[in-house]
Amino acid sequence: MSALQGTAGLPPPRAFRAPVSRYDQTSALWLLAPMLLVLLVVAVFPVLYSFWTSLYDLKLTRPHRVPFVWFDNYLVIFQDPLFWSSVWRTASFSAVSVAAIMVIALLMALLLNEEFRGRRFLSAMLLVPWAIPYVANGLMWKWIYDSGYGALNGALFQLDFIDKYMVWLGDSHKTLPLIANAFVWKEVPLAAILLLVGLKSIPADLYSAARVDGANVWRRFAHITLPSLRPAFMLVAIYETMMAIRHFDLFFILTEGGPAEASHVLAWHVYVETFRKLSFGTGSALAYIIALVTFLLAFSLIRALGRRL
């Protein structure tokens, strides 16, 4: 006891931190080396190499002549009207998809946050779309949308909403919304789970306090649930926006950018440039542009939503 006497009034002792010895540092480096090496080979090198490629006019149709063109590839891209129309299509696809994902996921999370019979079963079912690979999801929707034997045609026909089978994906006005629908179906589960975690972390006392303060159910939702979910919303918005902007699989499987250019989005544009026209230079440059746009979007979303956390 006596050792403790006389310490009152003194500032608390600093947290003790052992000096890091040179031995510790070098052994740590050695232990990390294998992973660093792997990252170097599979991540850092390709990133740098593709940037390097984007500065060359590299076309596999004439592999012997590869001139260094500085930023000409980027200029070519920006002068291509198809690029700008694909930017516009990507933007509208992403905006609609992310908005739909957020609304549906919120409703889903609110439902699963209630206690009712079969809640566990429903939660498990909710995870199914999430567990399906993108390609399988694409094939499934291709079948549903099929003009000859698709389930959508079957259902709508039997319910008398249509009087003949439709070529859904062939209608350039319907293509993007239909692909967005398939995308939303696949993405909602993860978003719903993230929001559900947010809902579960709201202390019940806050709702009690608001009830006593005279707030009815709508006001409790507006004043407690929504503001408390802001971090979860931010996470979902950033993640899903990035997923939507870069999304490729469904466009490849369902429409290959068609009909005409109705679903020619940025990711598809990269594919066409690189693997159809075999122009690796412009393809790499495009990939860089997408990465930059994605980064800027995420950054501004974090700024916009994060400031008010």
Partner: protein
């Protein structure tokens, strides 16, 4: 202003658990009532029923003459302070306090005036723009109080509001809450498991256990005239000591007998125990009702051995072996007994408690006398 009446109220949860059974309680207008009991005794449930946060499953709840069973919380004129404070984390202190008024549609000027009044009263003026996470525990507590008092409710409910504060602050806040009650002139219902809080704050204490009221009374009544061993044990520090024994008659006098111990009960107590001689009872002896200064008189003496001395600053606790039992007493710190010493203590026989050894009900205060 409201008088609260619970009439045979029961609360049963869907899983079959019964939190309250047949609880009847009347809380006078402007009273300060403390619901006291261990956790799980139903005191918080009772508070939630009054607030409307939970539904009454049987019986009736009245505010004055109006039945409230189905009136939702947001239509009742009550305010509540929570143990966790439950401040809205994304709202400023100002908005936290103003929220209840906004929800009830007060005009903006009125809200502003009232919030600033409350802030001045609770010394929160400098903090109005802060968020709850920027406040200390004591400041949060004040905001929670402010949020409740700004509404000038008919009923003020508090659910263990001080248990998250450190000891010094707790005592200061107790004084403030007591003052608040005096100036607000409204009904307070306060839930706690802390006997000291109950004794300092309450006009009336309601001691509860397993959803059943054990005793209702003023702090003095509850402390001096406990109706059963549960109430007696729940108040007092260190807790009351018990000795099993017999009531015997010796000539005119009624005595408590256990082994070589014989305590003569004073006339006032003996009157209440008429015809109980020969009964086996449990003697209750509060920790402070012994004296080692005065020379013990026969019939008021407890012989024993000091087994431990525990100084607690202002007093010391004495572990005392007597009649084969270990008892704890609180004595002044000026007396220094050594461990192992044999001592004769003088017992304040006027303050003895006598309970039925089987049921634990008081034989002194069970009837209408309590």
């Amino acid at each position: 202003m409201a008088r609260i009446r619970l009439q045979s109220v029961g609360k049963r949860y869907p899983n079959g658990f019964s939190a309250l059974e047949n609880l009847s309680l009347e809380i006078e207008d402007k009273a300060f009532v403390v619901l006291l009991g261990p956790s799980g005794c139903g005191k918080s449930t009772t508070l939630n029923l009054i607030a409307g946060l939970e539904d009454v499953t049987s019986g009736a709840l009245y505010f004055d003459e109006q039945i409230m069973n189905v009136v939702p919380a947001h239509r009742r004129d009550v305010a509540m302070v929570f143990q966790s404070y439950a401040l809205y984390p994304h709202k400023s202190v100002y908005e936290n306090i103003a929220f209840g008024l906004r929800m009830r549609g007060h005009p903006a000027a009125d809200i502003d005036r009232r919030v600033k009044d409350a802030a001045r009263r609770l010394e929160l003026e400098a903090l109005l723009d802060r968020r709850p996470h920027q406040l200390s525990g004591g400041q949060r507590q004040r905001v929670a109080l402010g949020r409740a008092l700004v509404r000038q409710p008919a009923v003020f409910l508090m659910d263990e509001p001080l248990s998250n504060l450190d000891a010094t602050l707790r005592i200061a806040m107790r004084a403030e809450i007591k003052q608040l009650h005096q100036t607000m002139q409204t009904t307070f219902v306060y839930v706690t498991h802390d006997q000291a809080e109950a004794l300092t704050l309450a006009d009336q204490i309601v001691v509860m256990r397993d959803g059943v009221i054990q005793q209702i009374g003023s702090p003095e009544e509850i402390y001096d005239r406990p109706r059963n061993t549960f109430v007696a044990s729940f108040l007092g520090n260190p807790p009351i000591n018990y000795l099993e024994g017999m009531l015997t008659e010796e000539g005119e006098a009624l005595c408590f007998q256990r082994g070589s111990l014989s305590l003569v009960l004073p006339h006032a107590l003996a009157l209440r125990l008429k015809g109980q001689a020969g009964r086996s009872v449990k003697l209750g002896l509060r920790a402070e009702e012994v004296d080692e200064h005065s020379v013990p008189r026969p019939g008021e003496t407890l012989h024993g051995r000091v087994s431990s001395v525990l100084p607690v600053g202002s007093d010391q606790y004495l572990g005392f072996e007597a009649e084969g039992k270990l008892l704890f007493f609180r004595v002044g710190r000026d007396l220094r007994h050594r461990e192992g010493e044999n001592v004769a203590l003088s017992v304040n026989v006027n303050r003895l408690q006598i309970f039925d050894s089987g049921t634990g009900d008081s034989l002194l205060w069970s009837g209408n006398g309590a």
